[in-house]
């Protein structure tokens, strides 16, 4: 399937512009996180989505906040932005502010706004697939399914989890409008795909679940817009679960503590080593979808907003153990009884 040819017809300009904005916003935020980490301002891990912004943003931009469900994973800064996550949520989570959705109780990529349809991931890979399926089943039971989509991303490594398998299979049985994106970035931490699976292409799994499979070059901005936008549209139109496999390369270490030196130079130099943001800008300019000035403006605005969010989060109070209620229950049980 070559999707790029039909891109400009199918993916609307609004969608493509939103996608690019989210990508650049994510990149700028993550560059900032990286410096904060290196300056010792962040305790705990910092995980970046460098190189995966096109895939992530294509998904996030195709979803409708307030209606759809999105369960972002490790490298979905861009998708989160596209789905409407404010910078301050990210800054607060990483900097441990007592304000914001996580209140310092959980951090970094584990943030979310579940009441608004953006789930707060747990670390255990693959776990979100069935949870999103459950959200969608609920919507069906509530008579609110029409035109709703649920989506999540996993990595190549996460496809080896039983949770991924059980969740996708269940969604297929229930014919739920679930979009699962596999960002096959060729490594799970240090582990190359040759130690992760033995099939030729992970998209070959789609047929075995009875779902549609889509392949895309995850570094190709417009192809991502097209293929992922199309997959979301198919799910929305009642086509059941969609499995999209995007091939790309993680352009950072696994986390900022990791230099990723195990990634061979040949892989870095290969076609997936290119930066999807460079590709995006080139494609946008070539096709006259955006001008240099617009791009510069988006970058500039993002830089200012990121700075502001980080500055704000840094000034906010951190959690105070003496004010903390230490309650794991919503129910008003006498906590001494627990």
């Amino acid at each position: 399937m070559d999707h790029t040819s039909i891109t400009t017809q199918r993916a609307s300009t609004t969608y493509i512009r939103a996608m690019y904005s989210a990508m650049i916003q994510a990149r700028i935020m993550e560059n900032k996180l990286s410096s904060l980490y290196k300056a010792g301002k962040i305790v705990g891990g910092v995980y970046l989505g460098k190189g995966q912004e096109a895939v992530s943003a294509a998904l996030g931009s195709a979803l409708i906040p307030g209606k759809d469900i999105f369960a972002p994973l490790i490298r979905d800064q861009a998708g989160r932005r596209a789905f409407g996550e404010p910078f301050i949520d990210c800054a607060r989570a990483y900097l441990g502010s007592a304000l914001g959705p996580m209140r310092g109780r959980d951090g970094n990529i584990h943030r979310g706004r579940p009441r608004e349809g953006m789930l707060a991931m747990i670390s255990h890979l693959g776990s979100a697939v069935s949870v999103v399926a459950g959200c969608l089943l609920a919507k069906r039971l509530q008579g609110q399914m029409l035109g709703t989509v649920g989506a999540t991303c996993v990595g190549d490594g996460a496809t080896s989890t039983g949770a991924f398998h059980e969740g996708l299979n269940l969604a297929a049985v229930e014919k739920l409008p679930l979009v699962v994106i596999v960002a096959n970035n060729q490594f799970a931490y240090s582990t190359p795909t040759s130690r992760q699976y033995a099939c030729e292409d992970l998209v070959d799994r789609a047929k075995g679940y009875g779902v549609n499979g889509h392949s895309v070059d995850g570094t190709d901005f417009l192809a991502c817009a097209d293929v992922i936008g199309n997959a979301v549209a198919l799910a929305r139109a009642g086509g059941g679960p969609q499995l999209v496999v995007a091939r790309l390369l993680r352009l950072s270490g696994h986390g900022e503590h990791d230099d990723g030196s195990y990634v061979p130079d040949s892989v870095k130099a290969g076609s997936f080593g290119r930066d999807c943001i460079d590709v995006a800008e080139q494609q946008l300019l070539e096709r006259n979808i955006m001008s240099q000035e617009e791009i510069a403006e988006i970058r500039e605005t993002a830089t200012i907003e990121v700075q502001a969010a980080v500055a704000q989060a840094q000034q906010e109070p951190v959690p105070d153990p003496y004010l903390e209620d230490w309650r794991a229950y919503h129910s008003p049980f006498d906590q001494s009884q627990s």
Binding site: D106, P114, S127, V129, N169, Q337
Partner: protein, 322 residues
């Protein structure tokens, strides 16, 4: 006319489905078939959209429940046997249990675990997993011992905002009968004095409540000892006040459970009692659990693996003679 413990579980689910459109049931073979134990018999006919057969995917079943709960539903998941919830362990303890603390948004799911031993069921269809789940913050673990509790606590579990592990004892399913589902209205978190006594307190839960009462009756007949039996009803939260009040009256404690001996409910009960009621005790508090092996298949081994009226009487005689 009489009703059984399994009738109570079925009836509670029917009531919930009828009265609350947020409720739905999900589990293996629970729809047309009515479940391995018939706990959902006829419900799929009455509520065809809300009683659904699941694939053999306990992890995804729990995950689906979590997602549905986040969207405002009140799922009840049936594990075919408690033992198979080991596959759903991660979703329950890491996803459901942590969610309220992490995000402020509770996850009201109810996971039904057909629990405990019956003759010939063997190592993988007999387990009592209450201690495993109760160890984790954020999980409510209930262990009804009566028909009325099976009914009212299941209804209450589904109404709670927190995830509930509902440990229903398979041995009680058809054996335990009552006149009606009507009980004393005690809420989850409150223990019950099942039998009053003066000489020693047995703190227990689930099927062992009945074995304790048998042992108490035997000791009363044999030697006039009056044994108090406390039914915890829920093991997390655990109503230590009722337990302490009983121990204050009797001065002697036997914590009794059917689960494996290391850790678990009996250790938690003893530790709480000695922490807050050390001065009340006239004898060392004792524990009686199953043996420290997998639950054996053969009925003769099984009967000796779990506590019995005989072994409970033995423990109580030791306790009383201190």
């Amino acid at each position: 006319m009489s009703v059984t413990y399994i009738d109570a579980i079925r009836e509670a689910q029917e009531t919930l489905l009828r009265e609350d459109p947020r409720v739905f049931l999900y589990g293996q073979d629970i729809a047309a078939f009515g479940g391995a134990f018939k706990a959902t018999k006829g419900l799929a006919e009455m509520f065809p959209d809300r009683v659904l057969d699941a694939p053999i995917s306990e992890d995804a079943m729990a995950g689906l429940a979590i997602g549905a709960a986040l969207q405002g539903m009140r799922p009840i998941i049936e594990m075919q046997f408690a033992d198979f919830s080991s596959i759903a362990f991660n979703q329950i303890v890491n996803h459901a249990a942590t969610h309220f603390y992490r995000t402020g948004m509770p996850v009201p799911i109810t996971v039904r675990l057909p629990s405990g031993g019956t003759a010939g069921s063997g190592p993988f269809h007999s387990q009592s997993m209450e201690a495993i789940y109760a160890h984790y913050p954020g999980v409510v673990v209930v262990t009804p011992a009566t028909v009325a509790d099976a009914y009212s606590m299941l209804i209450e579990s589904v109404k709670l905002e927190d995830p509930v592990i509902f440990c229903e004892h398979k041995f009680l399913y058809r054996w335990l009968k009552a006149k009606s589902f009507q009980g004393d209205g005690l809420p989850i978190g409150k223990a019950r004095i099942t039998r009053m006594g003066r000489h020693a307190t047995v703190v227990t839960y689930s099927a062992m409540v009945h074995e304790a009462v048998r042992a108490a009756e035997r000791l009363q007949k044999e030697s006039g000892w009056e044994i108090e039996v406390v039914d915890l009803r829920s093991v997390k939260p655990l109503d230590i006040d009722t337990v302490l009040a009983s121990v204050a009256r009797t001065g002697r404690l036997l914590a009794l459970g059917e689960a494996f001996p290391w850790g678990g409910v009996t250790a938690e009960v003893v530790s709480r009692v000695v922490a807050d009621g050390f001065h009340l005790l006239e004898a060392p508090p004792m524990r009686l659990n199953s043996r420290d092996t997998p639950v054996p298949y053969h009925p003769k081994l099984w009967a000796a693996h779990r506590p019995t009226p005989e072994s409970i009487c033995d423990s109580l005689r030791k306790l009383l003679s201190y």
